[in-house]
Amino acid sequence: MSDLETFRAETRAWLEAHCPESQRQPILKREQIWGGRNRVFPSADAQAWFEAMADRGWTAPSWPKEYGGGGLSIEEAKVLQQEMARLKCRPPLYEIGIWMFGPALLAYGNEAQKQEHIPKIVKGEIRWAQGYSEPGAGSDLASLKTKAEDMGDHFLVNGTKIWTTNAHKADWIFCLVRTDPSAPKQQGISFLLIDMASEGVSVSPIELISGESEFCQTFFDNVKVPKENLVGELNKGWDVAKELLKHERTLMSSMESMSEKEDFSLLELAQQYLSLNSEGTIEDGEIRSRIAQLLMEMEAFEQLNERMFYQYKAKQVDQRLGMLLKHIGTKQLQRKDELILEVLGNKALSWTAPTANQQEHIVTRNWAFNKSHTIAGGTSEIQLNIIAKRALGMAS
């Protein structure tokens, strides 16, 4: 047996032993475990499962062991993912610190910063928020105006950030701030960590078209930030941001599978809501073809991801393919939502919802919320620009 096969066998056995039956069911949004000082576990099972994983560092399987991570190789991490999928284990931790901030801090943070923050992310003790966008800036991130003035022993921060996901629940926020107002746009920006408990920080949730308020505006009014909270060099924050954006894009493209457990499959909904003929196939030929077409393309998207994994393993990475993921993934997700609406008919229109069941209710809210996916984290238009210029080499 190869090392990897041994690892697979051991992992499978360990998961079977440590993942309670209740944690192998599709997860509902309200049962997700996020990091945070004040986190509350939805059940004893959930807590046990989380703690077992966090102890092994498997909340961040491929991070270095010295900071509490799992220390797995990329192949081992893939095996862990496969085995978890096989047993239908719930993700132990949902956390922006795991997905985006951690990898960037590991790359750009100093030793003290890594020691301070990474273990807490792995253990889910701190919930992080992102402070990039500003009102009126849209995709033009670099036009940000929030400023951090050097006051000798600290920075004094003033300004407003928007789209700070769940900032009202976050303990810390990582921000891009302008430290040199005279420099050209992308220069003069620094990457700063700010404790949300600091004086002068306030948060106001934004109501979305889905009725939810996951995004916030975060206001900084003369907030004092210690100088040791600067990540990377002064005025070089753009580099850290770019590293982080890489992870965000990968994340966005996998949103689909992340939210899958909550929003049910197009295939199953079609079988449940459409008229079937005696052989069990969908009677209406038009919608049947449109569903098949989308499912084919979604399968191709998975195959594209798989191809990239094998390229990575073989060290033959085609950099261009990564640039496609966000646009393809989010567009497919929205097409799927629209088709689901069509399949459900008037059952998908509920809002206050006495006539809709829980499933129908979630489907509708997801449809509305998911309109954000082609906007947040780099709009589709920006993605297409990138593909044209960088992947295809079109002149600009």
Binding site: E207, S210, L341, S350, P354, I375
Partner: protein, 363 residues
């Protein structure tokens, strides 16, 4: 195919009145009161005073005889500002149904009251998840009405509820209820902030039948009138969205240039405009046929299918082109987005109407 002078004046009047008195915020107020009325009763009273409910009705029943094209002009304007009114449920649908199906006595009893605005009515059609008047199961037999209806518009506000059912021989017929007192009701708000009702009839007796005998063709025609009325409203909504989007792109700067200068966005807006004008042409053509007394079965399906796709596409593009703000409830864009999806389902989605159109043209 175009508005005549009277109809154009009516359109201008409606636009001016609505701009002044019915901003999109009105819908937010209605939405904030789930138990409240389905539409702003005071505003409706003002529209009544402008004579709107009488526009399309013939003069013999107290109407103004402007033709349905006049009503189309008004519906485009209510659609632009998402104004909730009983224009589709009562003026387009219920009044047409009475006119087409009712006995002379029933017409004299109800049409003048509808024209003057004293009375509003609604029609209970839909059953099940997808609109399909061919598969109605509500039964009218032995003097009793049984079955369930869903997506009934403005039911609580209506003084008269017409129910489409099948009689003992399986033919379409229409029942008229002056009250919903003995009917089990569930009222709910949909994503567009409007209120709809489910009605359940259990051997309901003492119901008056509208007209006499089989009414298949007339019922279908009344439904087609409601279908194109809704399509006219939808075109108004899509038009407003495109205008708002172009305005936004012309205002907003990014990377030091106006968003409107990006060619990819220009081409997408141009495509939307093509789609909008095609759909609008189909809707106007259907109304023209209607006023000419020609059959509109094919025209109604064409108009609704194109209006559905147009409103859906433009609302998606409008959200996307407004960027982050487009997905906030603060902007009105999301309200149009959600209204378009409800309109999609009312009187049949695009798939339903494509199939119906195919049947009409013999394929």
């Amino acid at each position: 195919m175009i508005f005549n002078e009277e109809q154009s004046m009516l359109k201008d009047t409606a636009r001016a009145f609505i701009e002044e008195n019915a901003p999109v915020d009105n819908l937010r107020k209605l939405r904030a009161a789930p138990e409240g009325p389905a539409y702003d009763l005071e505003l409706w009273q003002q529209l009544v005073e402008l004579g709107i409910p009488a526009v399309a009705l013939p003069e013999e029943y107290g109407g103004l005889g402007f033709g349905f094209m006049g009503l189309a002009a008004v519906l485009g304007e209510t659609g632009r500002n998402l104004v909730a009114t009983p224009l589709v449920s009562s003026v387009a649908l219920a009044a047409s149904l009475i006119k087409l199906v009712g006995t002379e006595e029933q017409k004299s009893r109800w049409l003048p009251a509808l024209a003057s605005g004293e009375l509003t009515a609604t029609v209970a059609v839909q059953e099940g998840r997808h609109y399909n008047p061919k598969s109605i199961e509500t039964k009218w037999a032995n003097g009793a009405l049984s079955g369930s209806k869903t997506m009934v518009m403005d039911a609580q506000e209506a003084g008269l509820v017409l129910v489409i059912a099948k009689n003992a021989s399986g033919a379409l017929c229409v029942l008229a209820l002056n009250s919903l007192e003995d009917v089990e009701q569930e009222r709910y708000m949909l994503m567009d902030g409007r209120k709809f009702s489910d009605l359940h009839f259990r051997d309901l007796a003492g119901v008056e039948e509208l007209g006499e005998g089989e009414q298949v063709a007339s019922v279908e025609q009344a439904l087609d009138i409601a279908t194109i009325a809704l399509a006219a409203e939808m075109i108004g909504g899509a038009e407003s969205l495109l205008e708002r989007t172009v305005y936004h792109l012309n205002e907003r700067e990014q990377f030091d240039v106006k968003l409107a200068t990006f060619q990819a966005l220009q081409h997408r807006c141009a495509e939307m405009y093509c789609q909008l004008e095609l759909a609008r042409s189909a809707v106007l053509s259907a109304f023209t046929r209607l006023d000419q007394g020609r059959n509109i079965a094919k025209a109604a399906s064409q108009a609704k299918a194109l209006a559905n796709e147009c409103y859906q596409h433009i609302s998606n593009e409008a959200v996307q082109m407004h960027g982050g703000m487009g997905i906030t409830d603060e902007l009105d864009i999301g309200l149009y987005l959600k209204r378009s999806r409800v309109c999609n389902q009312l009187f049949g989605d695009a798939n339903f109407h494509r199939k119906r159109y195919a049947l009409q043209i013999g394929i």
